[in-house]
Each structure stands twice: as C-alpha cells, then as structure tokens.
C-alpha cells in the first residue's frame, strides 16, 4: 500500500468519511507526477482523485487547506529535513472551503520558498471573473470550473510535461502524456472495493422497471459538453520565477 503513494478513500474503508492529512511522505519514482488535491467535499475528492489517476498521476487527497499545509510541512516554522524527499508536482484545490479558502492556501504556498514553484490550480463551482482574476494574480496556474471533467485534467497534465522545477531546484522533464484509454489497472486497483452496488443501497428496489417510462413527449436535448464558461488561463511557464 505504501508504494502507492496516494491516499485513496476507496481503498481504505476505515477512512471512507475522513479527509486524510497523510503524514507519510511518499517515496515516489522521480518520473511520476504527484498531485496534492484539496477539497472539503468527499464526493469531489473521490472524483478528482479518479480523474488524476486515470491520467497517470499519483494523488494525495486532503480535506482542508490546513491539512494541505500540514502535508507540505508548511504548518510550522521549522523546516523539516524530510521535505527534500517530498515531491509535489501540482496542487489542485477547491476555492470555497470552510476555514481556509483555496485562495488563502494559494497565497501561503506562493509565500513558501519550498513550494512556490509548484503550479497551483483552483477549482470552483462559480464562474466569477473577479475571483478568477484574483487567483491568477496571486499566482494560480489555472482555474477550473466544476464539475471537473477528464478533459480539464488532461489539459493540466499537458503543462506538467513542460520543464518542472523540483523543490531542490533541479529541472527535469516529465514523461509525455500516456494515453489513458487502456487504463491497465495497477495491483492496488484490483483489490476488491469495500462496497458492492447491492450493499450500498440498503433500501429494497422500488417499482419494477416500467417500460412506459421510456415514452416521453419530447426528448430533452442534452447540453454540449463543450459549452462551458470561459476558463481563463495564465500563459506562463511554471518553471519561471
């Protein structure tokens, strides 16, 4: 499990409802992309984690800005010697969170010497231009509108293939995007999930499937997935100071 590096709520039933601070520092392959995801919503954490794993990222998901700082070792004044081995290539955080907002977390990260080079992406359910601008001005790499889709995460992955500075200052190129479609499961994915679909829904099935439900007067046109509000991007290489 430890070699996995990421904390997956789906694989640890005892942590199902808990956002995890994850004090373990993952010993990761230098070429693997490690993403720290921050969101107070468990549902959103699970989804973003899945999206990131599909794009071959290792993920640590935490439920608050404080836990994120704790994970990064930024929650106290003394520098930890172990930080040299902590490798975070991207931080993706929700904007609206109780306690510390994503914006406040962004500021703290950009104020830190160890992590200010790490690209930070903000997610929000609200398309507020002033909010977006404020985050970009504070140094956010990108701003994603929720609900986040695979295409959004793939786009993030793309600019991680450019030069990325490690916290110790060495530049390295990350591997190209690997095609996500084959999705060969790694060993930990094949472990049985704690819940089967039948157990999840404790209430007995309702009325039997009624074929009449099929007949509707006019099918609703589903919105095109491309019709999303404009996402503003800061066109800046993450490797530059």
């Amino acid at each position: 499990m430890a070699s996995d590096g990421g904390v997956s709520c789906l694989r640890r039933p005892e942590m199902m409802n808990v956002g995890i601070g994850g004090m373990e520092h993952p010993l990761l392959d230098v070429d693997e992309v490690h993403v720290l995801a921050v969101d107070d919503s468990l549902v959103d954490r699970i989804v973003i984690e899945r999206l990131l794993r599909i794009t071959s990222c290792k993920v640590t998901a935490v439920d608050s800005g404080w836990r994120a700082l704790e994970f990064l070792g930024l929650d106290n004044e003394k520098a930890s010697a172990e930080l040299d081995r902590l490798k975070v290539d991207l931080i993706i955080t929700d904007y609206c969170m109780p306690g510390m907002t994503g914006y406040e977390l962004l500021k703290k990260i950009k104020e830190s010497s160890s992590f200010r080079q790490v690209p930070v992406v903000i997610m929000s359910s609200e398309n507020v231009i002033t909010r977006i601008d404020r985050c970009l001005e504070e140094g956010a790499e990108d701003f994603l509108l929720k609900p986040v889709k695979l295409a959004d995460v793939k786009r993030l992955r793309n600019y991680l293939t450019r030069d990325v500075k490690l916290s110790n200052g060495n530049k390295r190129k990350l591997p190209e995007d690997s095609p996500p479609s084959t999705l060969s499961p790694d060993s930990s994915d094949s472990s049985p999930s704690p819940l089967s679909p039948v157990e999840i829904f404790s209430s007995p099935p309702s009325s039997p499937i009624d074929d009449d439900n099929v007949l509707t007067s006019s099918p609703e046109s589903s919105p095109s997935p491309e019709e999303t509000p404009v996402r503003r991007q800061k066109m800046r290489s993450p490797g530059l100071d």
Partner: protein, 156 residues
Amino acid sequence: MDSLVAQLQMQYRNYVLSLYQQGFLDDQFTELKSLQDDGSPDFVSEVLSLFFDDCVKLVGNMARALDQTGTVDFSQVGASVHQLKGSSSSVGAKRVKGLCINFKELCEAKNYEGCVRCLQQVDIEYKTLKAKLQDMFNLEKQIVQAGGIVPQVDIK
C-alpha cells in the same frame, strides 16, 4: 439465454435514456461512467453512494437549521445548500442540482416558507433518484448474471 441478455440490454438502454430524457441525470453522470473500467467496475455506484450519504447529512442539517423557533440562520441553511449543490453537480444529479440553485436564492431572500417547501422537494428528489439508480444498477447486475455485458448507452 442470448435473447434474455438482449432483452435485458434493451431494457437497460431504454431505462438509462429515460433517466436522461426526464432530467434526472446530465452529462456529468456520463462523464463518471466513462471513468469506470474493469479495474474500477463499481466506481459510479460508489460515488453515488457517497453522494446519497451526503444528501442524508445535508438535508438533516438544513432541516435542523430551519427548525429553529425564533430566528433562522439562513446562512447556515445556505452553506449546506451550497455543499449539496456542489456534490449533485459533481455526480450529474441534474434535478437535485436544479433544486439547490432555487434553494440558494430562497435562502438569500430569507424566504422561510419557500425554503421549507424547497427542502421537502430536495428530500423527495434525491430519494427518487436513489430508487431510480438502484433499479439501473440492478439491471446491470441482471445483465452480468445472465452472461452479458452492460452496454454503453449513447446519450446523444
């Protein structure tokens, strides 16, 4: 045997299409389905299960906040509505999300009766969706048990 599978698959297709057509689900649900694979075959049902847990918790919060004799803290109600709006959006629970948008406005207007009515609707709506999805997952199970593969339903 083969025709049973074919029959079930057709039933399943029609059922899923109807869920979209009737506005229960939107393209974010499609997105979640696309993230499911042989390595994570229960991803959708697991996420939805967490969503319904969220519904129970948040609806409870809203009910308690609205149940104050004296002044109701609408910002407290609104905070729970905001969370529910977020998670319903993330799983593609279109009707629940739509109700949350209305609910949010009612909270901002401090419309007590409106909020109480909306909360009742939210309660009914998430439970309805839960039952519908239960039927859908059961159909999937039946297909697999009959030796078939759950078809990908093309929504467009």
